[in-house]
C-alpha cells in the first residue's frame, strides 16, 4: 500500500514532482507540506485541502510544460492567482497540481493611444490602473479586493466592482486572452480589434473558473478617467424605501457611475472601523455617484438629488471635494474587513436579483436571521441587484456553521426564485455547486459539461468545481426551480 500524508499518495507525488522538476527550476516545484500549506485554501477558508504539488511557472512556455506533464500523467490542474476568490475556485486537490501564476506578474505593454494594456495573468488588478494613470486612463473593473487579486483571477471569475453599473464587468473590459489548453496548445481568443472571427470563445473564457484553459496573457481595454466624480450619500428610515429609490433613479433615465446600498448593521460595523461619518440612525444608506465633465456632473447630481429626495430620503449629503467622496467610499470598500472585526467568521453571499425585489429580499433575510438565530448585515451593489449579505458566525461552533450553510442556501435559492442567479460575481467554485442543481435543468448542466469537453476532453482542469454531476444533484435532492417560479408558489416559505 502507498504511504499517504494528508491523503496524498507519496509515490505519485514524487513522480509528478520529479517530472515537473525536469522542466522547471527547482524552486518552482513545491511538495513539502511547509511549502504547500500557504496554498491550501483561497478566500473561502472553510474549505481546505493540501495540494499534491505546487508549480510556479514563470512563462507561457513553462505553463505549457506543466500542462503537458499533467495531461500525460492524468493529473488534475488547479490554477491560482492571488487566492482571494470567495467561492473556493482555487481550492487545491490532494490528487492535483496547483498552478500558481505568482511568477507571471509582468505588465508587458501599455499603449496609451490604442488604450489597451497587455499583461501577464499574475498582474494585480490595481497595478494595471496604476500603470495607465500617467496617461489619464484606467482599468474600469474595480473589485474591492483590487490591491491583491490578479487579472487572471478577474477573467476567470468575471469580476465586478462598484463602478460596473456604468463601466461594465470584466467581460466588457477584456479584449483578448491567451491561454494554454490541457493538451499544452496555446490558443488566442478575441483580439485587439473590437471583435474576432468565429464563435465568441472569449466570452466562454471569461468566468470559466480555470476549467477551460490556463490564462497566460490578457489584453484589457483602458478607459479615460473622468474629469470629475461626485457622490451623494442618501439616508433612509426604511430599507424598502431605499430599495425602491434605486429603481426610481434608473427609471429617471440615470445610469449612476456607482449605486451601492448598506443597511444599518453594516454601516454601524463600518463606522467603528473607518469612521466614514455615516448617519447611524438610518436604516439604510445609498451611495450614488456621478462622473464626467464638471458640467455633466453638476447637471446629473441635481437630477439624482431630486429623485432621491422624492423617494423619501431623510438626509442627503453631496461630497464637496475628492477627500469627502473618498471618505464616503472608504466605508463601503471596507465593509468586509469591518464585518470581519465584529464576528469571528462571516460568510459572504453573492446572489443577484431584479432590482425591484431588493426590499422584499431584505425583509426575507430579516426573517431568516430569526429562523437561524444569526446576524446578517447587508451590503449591495444595488444598481446591479447584486447582493452581499454577510452571515456572522463562529466556525468553531459546528452548529453555527451548519445553520450558516442552511441560511446561505435559502438566500441563494430565493435569489433563483426571484428570477435571479446564485452568483453575480464571486463564481460557483465549490461553494455554490449544489445550488447549480436548483438553477439549471439536467440538460442545461449536461451542455455545460459539453462546453468543458470541447476545451478539455480529459476533464483535468479544475474538474470538481462549478458544474455539478447529476449524481451530486440527486444527492442534494433540491428541485430545479423553473425560470423564476417556485415549485409550489402558494405555500408560505417562512
Amino acid at each position: 500500500m502507498n504511504v499517504r500524508i494528508a491523503g496524498i499518495d507519496a509515490d505519485r507525488q514524487a513522480k509528478v514532482a520529479a517530472r515537473l522538476g525536469q522542466l522547471l527550476p527547482e524552486a518552482s516545484v513545491l511538495h513539502h507540506q511547509e511549502d504547500t500549506r500557504p496554498y491550501e485554501c483561497d478566500g473561502l477558508s472553510a474549505y481546505r485541502e493540501l495540494p499534491m504539488v505546487v508549480a510556479l511557472p514563470a512563462s507561457e512556455g513553462e505553463v505549457q510544460a506543466v500542462l503537458k506533464v499533467c495531461n500525460d500523467l492524468n493529473v488534475k490542474v488547479i490554477a491560482r492567482g492571488a487566492g482571494t476568490g470567495l467561492s473556493g475556485g482555487a481550492l487545491p486537490s490532494r490528487e492535483g497540481v496547483l498552478l500558481s501564476t505568482a511568477k507571471m506578474g509582468k505588465i508587458i505593454h501599455v499603449d496609451p493611444v490604442a488604450r489597451v494594456a497587455r499583461v501577464q495573468p499574475g498582474v494585480r488588478n490595481l497595478s494595471i490602473t496604476e500603470a495607465a494613470a500617467p496617461y489619464g486612463l484606467y482599468f474600469a473593473p474595480d473589485p474591492s479586493s483590487q490591491i491583491a487579486c490578479t487579472i487572471g483571477g478577474n477573467v476567470a471569475e468575471n469580476a465586478g466592482g462598484v463602478h460596473c453599473l456604468k463601466y461594465g464587468l470584466t467581460v466588457h473590459n477584456v479584449m483578448r486572452v491567451r491561454g494554454v489548453t490541457i493538451a499544452g496548445e496555446v490558443i488566442e481568443l478575441g483580439s485587439e480589434a473590437l471583435d474576432a472571427a468565429g464563435y465568441d470563445l472569449l466570452a466562454l473564457a471569461v468566468g470559466s473558473e480555470g476549467m477551460l484553459m490556463v490564462i497566460t496573457e490578457v489584453t484589457v481595454r483602458l478607459v479615460p478617467k473622468p474629469e470629475l466624480a461626485r457622490c451623494i450619500l442618501a439616508a433612509y428610515d426604511d430599507v424598502e424605501k431605499a430599495g425602491n429609490a434605486v429603481a426610481d433613479v434608473i427609471a429617471a433615465g440615470i445610469i449612476p457611475a456607482g449605486l451601492e446600498m448598506m443597511d444599518q448593521p453594516a454601516t454601524r460595523a463600518v463606522e467603528e472601523f473607518v469612521h466614514a461619518n455615516y448617519p447611524l440612525d438610518a436604516k439604510a444608506i445609498l451611495l450614488c455617484e456621478s462622473d464626467g465633465t464638471p458640467e455633466e456632473v453638476a447637471e446629473e447630481i441635481e437630477r439624482m438629488t431630486e429623485v432621491l429626495r422624492k423617494s423619501g430620503a431623510t438626509e442627503i449629503r453631496v461630497s464637496r471635494d475628492e477627500a469627502e467622496r473618498l471618505k464616503f467610499w472608504a466605508g463601503r470598500k471596507a465593509a468586509f474587513p469591518a464585518v470581519g472585526r465584529i464576528s469571528p467568521d462571516y460568510y459572504c453571499m453573492d446572489g443577484t436579483i431584479p432590482r425591484k425585489r431588493l426590499g422584499e429580499m431584505l425583509h426575507a433575510i430579516a426573517r431568516l436571521e430569526k429562523k437561524y438565530r444569526l446576524r446578517c448585515p447587508n451590503v449591495f451593489h444595488a444598481g446591479d441587484g447584486n447582493l452581499h449579505p454577510l452571515i456572522l458566525f463562529d466556525a468553531n461552533d459546528p452548529d453555527e456553521l451548519h445553520r450558516t450553510e442552511q441560511f446561505a442556501a435559502e438566500v441563494l435559492e430565493l435569489s433563483v426564485a426571484y428570477g435571479g442567479t446564485v452568483t453575480g460575481e464571486h463564481g460557483v467554485g465549490i461553494e455554490k455547486i449544489n445550488q447549480m442543481c436548483v438553477q439549471f435543468s439536467p440538460e442545461e448542466l449536461e451542455m455545460f459539461r459539453g462546453v468543458k469537453r470541447a476545451f478539455d476532453p480529459p476533464g483535468l482542469l479544475n474538474p470538481d468545481k462549478n458544474i455539478p454531476t447529476l449524481r451530486r444533484c440527486a444527492e442534494y435532492g433540491k428541485m430545479h426551480v423553473h425560470r423564476g417560479q417556485l415549485p409550489h408558489p402558494e405555500l408560505p416559505r417562512f
Partner: protein, 355 residues
C-alpha cells in the same frame, strides 16, 4: 410550451433523426451574410412577441421571431434603446436574426457590442432540447456564458427562442459634427479623442469627411462641441446619415461589391489596398470595396492583429466568408458544434464549411 415552440421542436427532432440540415430564417434580411445556405427553411417568425419589459430593470425579454422595428418602437416609447444599434438590412429583420448575426452599428465604439448586452437566451439545440442560459439580471456568473457564445454564432449552435437584453436610456442630447480631413489624420484624431473623457458615441470617415456624433447630458455635449470644432450637421441630416451608415444605404455601400469588413486595432494605419474605404468605430472598423486578392486582404488584416470578412459579394466558396481560424481554435469550434448540434441540423456550414 406554446404551439409555435412545439412545432419548432418537432421539426428539429425530425431533421435530427433523418440527418437533414435546416436553414434557420427570420425575415431573411441577412441571407446574404455567411457561407452558402443549405437545407429546408425553418421560419422562426411564428414565435414572436415581447415576453417581459420593465424599463426600471433596464431589461427586455423578447421572442426570437419578433421584428426588430417592433422591439425598438416599444423601447423608444419608454425612452430607451438597444445601445448597440443593430443593422436591420431590411424591414423584416427579427431580433433572433440580429443576435445570431451578432452585428452592431455605429454606437458600438462607445456603448459596446451586441454580445455585451446579451443577458440570457433560451434556445433549441440541434436535438430540439429547450435550454435556458444566463437570465434577466445584470450580473450572472453561474455556469459558462453560453448566452454570449450564441450571439454571433450564425444559428449554428441553437435556434434562439428568447433573448434577454440590457437596454439603456436614449441620450438626452445628441449632436453631429462634420470635419474635412484626410484618412490618416482622421484615424489619428479619432484615437486621440478616444483617450479623452469626451461623449463621442460614433464616428465615421468617408469621402474626405469625418462625422462625429456626441451623445449625453446637454452640458457635456455642448462642451465637447467647442473642443472638437467642425460644422454642426442639422438634426434631420444627422439622423439620416447615421441610419444610412448602419443600414449600408450610404453612397459608399451602393454597388460596393465585393465588400470587405476588416476589423483591426483602432490605431492601424490606412490600409494600403486599391479601391475605396470607409472607417467606423474610432478606426477599428474598415469597410473596403476592392478587387484586391482575398489573400492579400486577409494577410493585411492579420498582420495588423485583426481579421477580414467577405461581407457581400465575391466568391464565397473560393475565399471563405470568415477569416480562417488557427487549428487549435478551429478544433474547439468543431467540438462545440458537436456538443450543441451532434447531427449537424442547424445552419450547417453557414459559418465555416467544415461544420
Amino acid at each position: 410550451m406554446t404551439d409555435a415552440v412545439n412545432s419548432l421542436v418537432e421539426t428539429i427532432r425530425a431533421a435530427a433523426e433523418a440527418g437533414r440540415g435546416l436553414r434557420l430564417r427570420g425575415g431573411g434580411t441577412k441571407d446574404f451574410y455567411g457561407q452558402a445556405l443549405h437545407g429546408a427553411v425553418l421560419d422562426t417568425r411564428g414565435h414572436a412577441g415581447i415576453v417581459a419589459y420593465e424599463p426600471t430593470e433596464l431589461v427586455v425579454t423578447v421572442r426570437g421571431g419578433t421584428r426588430l422595428t417592433e422591439l425598438e418602437a416599444t423601447l423608444a416609447e419608454k425612452g430607451q434603446m438597444l445601445p448597440f444599434e443593430p443593422p436591420h438590412f431590411g424591414a423584416d429583420a427579427t431580433i433572433g436574426g440580429a443576435v445570431a448575426a451578432g452585428l452592431s452599428g455605429p454606437r458600438r465604439q462607445s456603448a459596446g457590442a451586441l454580445r455585451d448586452f446579451v443577458l440570457g437566451v433560451r434556445i433549441l439545440d440541434g436535438r430540439g432540447q429547450d435550454l435556458t442560459f444566463g437570465g434577466q439580471v445584470m450580473k450572472n456568473v453561474a455556469g459558462y456564458d453560453v448566452s454570449r457564445l450564441i450571439a454571433g454564432s450564425m444559428g449554428t449552435l441553437g435556434l434562439i427562442l428568447e433573448v434577454s437584453l440590457k437596454v439603456l436610456p436614449i441620450p438626452v442630447t445628441e449632436a453631429t459634427l462634420q470635419l474635412e480631413l484626410p484618412q490618416d489624420k482622421a484615424i489619428e484624431i479619432m484615437n486621440r479623442w478616444g483617450g479623452k473623457p469626451l461623449p463621442v458615441s460614433a464616428t465615421a470617415w468617408t469621402d474626405g469627411d469625418l462625422w462625429v456624433r456626441l451623445s449625453g447630458a446637454e452640458a457635456a455635449v455642448r462642451a465637447a462641441r467647442e473642443k472638437i470644432g467642425g460644422e454642426v450637421v442639422d438634426d434631420a441630416g444627422a439622423a439620416a446619415f447615421w441610419t444610412a451608415l448602419r443600414e449600408h444605404t450610404e453612397p459608399f455601400f451602393r454597388d460596393a461589391v465585393p465588400l470587405w469588413r476588416v476589423s483591426v486595432p483602432s490605431t492601424t494605419a490606412a490600409l494600403e489596398v486599391p479601391g475605396e474605404q470607409l472607417i467606423e468605430w474610432g478606426g477599428s472598423l474598415r469597410w473596403l470595396t476592392t478587387g484586391a486578392d482575398a489573400r492579400v486582404i486577409r494577410e493585411l488584416a492579420a498582420r495588423a492583429g485583426g481579421h477580414a470578412t467577405l461581407f457581400r459579394g465575391g466568391d464565397k466558396a473560393e475565399t471563405g466568408v470568415f477569416h480562417p481560424l488557427a487549428p487549435a481554435v478551429a478544433r474547439i469550434h468543431a467540438n462545440l458544434k458537436r456538443e450543441f448540434d451532434p447531427h449537424g441540423v442547424l445552419n450547417r456550414g453557414r459559418m465555416y464549411p467544415e461544420f
